[in-house]
Symmetry: C2
Subunit: 499 residues, 2 copies
């Protein structure tokens, strides 16, 4: 095979692959946002067929020859092509280790599990979901073993979601957070709570939908390339830079929940929308790691979205839609309310200060699950105990406890730490950004496009071209240092709560 | 190949095919209801790849052997399997005549054309759409030629959508309608118009959405298997009997438009929802012909939905949601208003009496288009002239003229006559139904399940198992006779307008 033939075959392979991924993602999106309840059977069958084909597209001798031909001559080809071959080769090596029938069975299982989880959560019925979770843990353990039988399964999974992460590095990271943040959490609990009642009135859903559109406009999102839909557990998916979707979940009696979910998912979307044109329909047109993706979503959600300057821009927009409900509210009141810090039940709605403690609990649980040190039937009790120990809260039911998140149902174990890592990366990027542009002047104007332009230049446009560490370092201006994150939280919440 | 092997391979073929069709349909549904504007590029690429695979699945020596093996021994196998093989063999013969590159190019073209049509309609810009239409006509003419070069292309297409239909039979059918209905239309135009002002007030979209749910409940649709979405031109799609989707289009200043679109699409949905369990994930789980599908949608929309008894059931439901707007309205006023008959511009919103004349115009246009007797650039002028001649109305712009319908953009030429045929079939079914059950007592109660049960028994459950004529005759109790339709319309509108 000549290098030219290999490049042509690579292009065909990737455009075909992308077509299948696109179809599968739209099926999943539809399943989570629009499909009727009993659609799961048909969707599972279809996803099973399509994922079988994606497996066969990758795992064959020709694909291997295409990739090694390019990689053997990587210095003679366009660096984008070399990087594509490199990433696909990593995928191929991973997939080759998994027998096809197991790969397909896992896709079908997670499709079913997702549907069952929705119902189990609604009914707060862990027993319904448990057999699926058990199988998902088994699959993950087996897949990790295929990949690297010499390392603990959980280390293999962690490294999958966040290159370089391991139980050793994360024990340190979470150790620092626990040590430095727990005293602040305890102090804050003793102070008077800010007023939040004005965010807990009736905000009709059809008006919240209008509010979402306004917030997406403030973020500078091109709506011709980005749509919003509604689901149980909000997520973002990007099929290519001209077709990105965010989702949210409206609660009629709460304004902040969907608001910050839209800003969070909007941050993910801006990443996908900002990948370079020449990367589209290849494996480069995506985020680098899960943690780096989360660094973008939590950057917008918290660092900008929950800052006083942005609250000043946001309030008049909110008041136009909800004049009665928000009458008399000042930017400072809004700022204090959306930053109310207190130990709570739901990770996605946790404040910035206690957030990492929620992630820590999943991390500790996943460690036990993957090591086989906890039985699936014992997990809810374990969960409830950890919430008591780490956050001092009593979990009233599994709906608001172990069933709250979709990740395990979707087959992902080892993803959660990325949320905390991403939050920490983001703070360090902010400190680099502040040296280049007037972040807070921009936030107060309520037009975030210059902030997105900075992130676009440092992060978004690179897609998966750079190695994660390289990408992070150029955006943060230095190697990762979690003290930025800890210092930022201590300072912000000490000021908010007069510590 | 043994018969047993052939049956196993048939099962695999159909479940694989269904997976691809499901994926492609969800992509299209998403494109029409949820996707952002610029998503068309990616969707076109993906549909191109998937349709290429569906072509290859069918057109190969093994599939041919599977089908002929079963058909050669059709008396020894389950009649459902024999019928599946028969229908697939028809598809295979059709597809074999079309070169694969043309087949794929046509899928990509119609995906692009659909997106362009949406924009062209919005901007009332026919010139944008014309080059796509030209190509679609060419493809249709070429495909018809591949199928049967001895017949006029339009006859081939008509027979595709409605087995047995041809220009000869349709000239007669439309001739009868024109002869008998035109005098009534002219007479009605001289009478005073009923009050319709109360249907043209502000009906907020978020309340109309609630109304749609109530109407779907009256129709007895199982919402766990049937969802509703919003689009420009409403349609229904059924992936299997547990996953059916209807769509509608809300107009804030009009109540009846979306209402009757929901009932119409609901009729299509009930057909798909009612196909037999054992037919699912095979080619039998679908409607028989386009005309028979339309007979169901227009049955619910007009024969039931626009009857006085159903108006009696509907009004209190509507008044609960819109008490102010509908205060003082009686069932008789509603009945008169939703049956206002007058020549108008938009087919989908036309009254029952003038509806067939809209279809006639498309039929005459398509005859000219397919015969090559009209240039694509001349079509808008021709359209406008026919609306003047047939209905006496002046078309103010292409948006409300030639660009109003999606069908041509979707690649379908020859579909329109099915709408008029379906309406006529439905009336003859109603006359058979009236002998078996108390149709009007049921309609007045507002729980249409017994009506659906009758249609389910006669039509829905059979899917594509019976030949269209056989299916129609058992539901109508006699061969098709368009005089039922004409007599029904003359009687209904003579009474309404005191002729």
């Amino acid at each position: 095979m000549t290098i030219q033939q290999a490049i042509e075959k690579l292009n065909t392979l990737e455009s075909t692959q992308k077509a299948y991924y696109h179809a599968m993602s739209v099926l999943s999106l539809d399943g989570a946002t629009a499909a009727p309840k009993r659609s799961a059977l048909g969707r599972g069958k279809t996803l099973g067929v399509l994922s079988g084909v994606t497996y066969q597209l990758m795992v064959n001798d020709e694909t291997r020859e295409v990739l090694t031909t390019i990689l053997d001559q990587r210095n003679q080809v366009d660096p984008l092509i070399a990087r594509r071959a490199e990433l696909l080769k990593e995928d191929l090596d991973d997939m080759t280790r998994i027998p096809m029938d197991e790969y397909v069975a896992f896709q079908t299982l997670t499709s079913d599990a997702d549907a069952v989880w929705h119902e189990a959560k609604e009914k707060s019925d862990y027993a319904m979901f448990a057999p699926y979770l058990e199988k998902i843990i088994d699959f993950n353990r087996r897949f990790a073993g295929y990949k690297n039988a010499d390392k603990p399964a959980y280390d293999v999974l962690l490294d999958d979601y966040e290159k370089g992460a391991s139980m050793a590095t994360l024990d340190n990271f979470f150790g620092l957070l626990r040590e430095k943040l727990t005293p602040v959490i305890l102090e804050v609990a003793k102070r008077p709570a800010p007023r939040t009642d004005f965010l807990r009135q009736v905000f009709p859903v059809h008006q919240q939908r209008i509010f979402s559109d306004k917030v997406m406009a403030m973020m500078g999102m091109d709506r011709d390339c980005c749509a919003i839909a509604e689901t149980e557990h909000p997520f973002t998916d990007g099929f290519n830079k001209w077709d990105v979707r965010i989702t949210t979940n409206y609660h009629e009696n709460e304004l902040a929940s969907s608001l910050y979910s839209v800003i969070h998912e909007g941050g993910h979307a801006l990443y996908e929308l900002g990948t370079a044109d020449e990367m589209q329909f290849t494996c480069l047109a995506s985020g680098s790691t899960m943690g780096i993706h989360e660094s973008q979503s939590r950057f917008y959600e918290n660092l900008i979205g929950r800052s006083l300057p942005f609250c000043k821009a946001l309030l008049p927009v909110a008041k136009e839609i909800f004049p009665t409900q928000l009458s008399g509210v000042t930017p400072e009141m809004l700022y204090a309310a959306v930053n109310e810090a207190k130990p709570s039940l739901i990770r996605t709605e946790a404040d910035e200060l206690t957030y990492a403690h929620h992630v820590m609990i999943r991390y500790e649980m996943e460690k036990l699950m993957m090591a086989g040190d906890a039985k699936v039937n014992d997990l809810p009790a374990l969960w409830n105990k950890m919430y008591k120990d780490y956050l001092g809260v009593t979990v009233p039911n599994d709906r608001e406890g172990i069933l709250q998140d979709v990740h395990w149902a979707g087959g992902s174990i080892g993803y959660f730490p990325s949320y905390a890592l991403g939050s920490a990366y983001g703070v360090q990027m902010l400190s680099a950004m502040e040296k280049d542009i007037d972040v807070w002047g921009i936030a107060e104007k309520g037009d975030l496009r210059p902030i997105t332009a900075w992130l676009g230049e440092k992060i978004h446009r690179h897609g998966r071209f750079l190695k994660p560490n390289q990408l992070l370092e150029q955006a943060m201006g230095a190697p990762f240092d979690p003290n930025y994150y800890v210092d930022y939280l201590v300072k912000k919440f000490s000021a908010l709560y007069d510590l």
